[in-house]
Symmetry: C2
Subunit: 301 residues, 2 copies
DNA sequence: GCTTTAATTCTGGAAAAGAGATTTTCATTG
DNA sequence: CAATGAAAATCTCTTTTCCAGAATTAAAGC
């Protein structure tokens, strides 16, 4: 029983899907299947019941889930406990609006409990600006969206900035176009029946991905909003299509099932300067790494 | 950080020696060294201070030790919790006198706490008899000494019986000849200056190993004793040499440092019938496996 | 009934682990 | 103080395990 198997198990348990879990932990589905089977054999118990293509936890799986969370939490605590110098001071973290909303609450809470001496400064912004701020030492690290390859080739400046930084994938977002209710299903941007795209500020990578996609067939104006809540409200009025990752949409229990279109997966990167590694940053890095594949519901230690 | 690294760490921490730990966990010393170094790099902290050839835990090592014990205990608990059917009924365990004295107290206590519904019957005896009893279904399993290859070739009956059973190494004992105080150091049986060997019953594998060793040069009579305490008392009288594993000798805080001679390592096997696997046995098997490399002091969970 | 999507199985290549030999280091001893 | 012995570390080679991608199978949706 090794801890990486448990991380994989947690991802499958929380997503109830091998494919999604594989993305979450950055592996290939066949590998996830194998590791789960190994774990089951090792424990001598069936953890999931495979009725059709759904993976649902069995009774034993549920009890193991509790232990799995405790084990991960304990392992993380052990790591932090042996840290030679306890982190303190200030840590300046930049993040996209979406990541702050959907991914950070759990790890930030945990980090804050573990290291109350660190004062954590959170800055929200667009990926480009955040990357620049990290380079300029205005931020210690940032969570930004990795632009797809075609976009990187168009924006060599940004690409060069990224290359100057250390980076690491921590989440994978499923970027969506959110359509007004009643809008017919779409296969491409040409099928859009709205007057505009609703997105955040111009530097936002998600916005630029959506604009690139829309540009291929039609030429829609983009209306700028201050928050994802504002975007969704706009979409509800019926004449605009919103841009946001699925994880954010999932947070806002929307009354009816919304029509969405997938723009594909977009990686969220943790970027930081190559040279400097303040103690508070490595602690943050570690907490983020330990939390990434896991359920938002944290285990009672 | 995987649990096998932690098992290795616990062994090194408890033995304060790479070589001994390697024997305890059934690996080669170079491997233990590497795994400890990996663990240290992974944690970003020094766990041991290598002053000379002693491995002493550092401050960080001490704090990690506590977590390591908790992690192992939690992992074991998780295993047991997902066991589909809670074990109950009776489990008949055979064991050598020496194993019962030095190795079993910790796992038996743990097993008893975990599965109070299982009534555990412990039978003491010589390896040969125990193996036979397992075959005859008088016992569910037994802890016996594996005779060295030369002895197995002389005793084909016993060898055949062993082959009919499932077996697994759980401990490695350092078999000793214990000499009276004042006896000169010996290099072989020819240097013995005593009138007899003190051992347990004739079927005892340790006794037979010692007799084989003594036979090569001299021909000493063996006097039979009922317990290791009796053997040690006999040795103290001055005219006999005792046979016992180091782990047993270590238990009996003897007034003065005794003169000993090593007869070499002898594996302790857990043997059981190939076919039948009562639930209580697999639980016992698991507890034994989890405890084998560890310190006797159990962790508070 | 065909298409789509998800899980599993299979297979080849890459990475990691383990064993044994060698070297280094330190304590012990003559 | 040099020689010896024992224990840890290093190195190299073999074996095992792990992982990605392709092929396969099975179920759900249209």
């Amino acid at each position: 029983m090794d801890l990486s198997s448990i991380e994989i198990f947690l991802a499958v348990a929380s997503d109830r899907s091998v494919t999604k879990a594989a993305k979450a932990v950055g592996r290939v589905p066949s590998n996830v299947t194998t590791r789960i089977q190994q774990l089951e054999e090792d424990l001598g118990a069936c953890l999931f019941s495979r009725d059709g293509k759904k993976m649902t936890l069995t009774r034993e799986g549920e009890t193991f889930l509790a232990y799995a969370n405790r084990l991960m939490a304990l392992a993380l605590e052990a790591r932090q406990a042996v840290r030679p110098l306890a982190p303190s001071g200030t840590l300046r973290v930049g993040t996209m609006e979406s990541t702050a909303a959907s991914r950070l609450p759990a790890p930030l809470t945990q980090f804050n409990q573990m290291w109350p001496d660190v004062s954590l400064h959170l800055t929200m912004g667009a990926s480009r600006d955040l990357a620049r701020d990290v380079l300029a030492d205005v931020l210690d690290c940032a969570l930004i969206a990795r632009p797809p390859k075609t976009m990187r080739e168009e924006d060599l400046d940004f690409d060069a900035e990224l290359k100057a930084l250390e980076m690491e994938t921590v989440f994978v977002e499923d970027l969506l176009i959110v359509l007004p209710s009643g809008h017919p299903a779409i296969k491409s941007a040409a099928d859009l029946r709205v007057g505009s795209l609703a997105a955040l500020e111009p530097g936002c990578t998600y916005r630029r991905i959506a604009e690139n996609w829309a540009r291929t067939s039609s030429s829609l104006p983009t209306t700028e909003h201050g928050s994802y809540h504002a975007i969704l409200a706009s979409v509800a009025t019926g004449n605009t299509a919103g841009v946001m990752p699925r994880s954010v949409l999932d947070l806002m229990h929307w009354p009816t099932a919304v029509q969405t279109h997938q723009l594909g997966p977009v990686e969220t990167l943790l970027v930081y300067r190559k040279d400097d590694c303040p103690s508070a940053f490595s602690a943050f890095h570690e907490v983020l790494g330990a939390t990434k594949g896991r359920d938002v519901r944290l285990a009672a230690n």
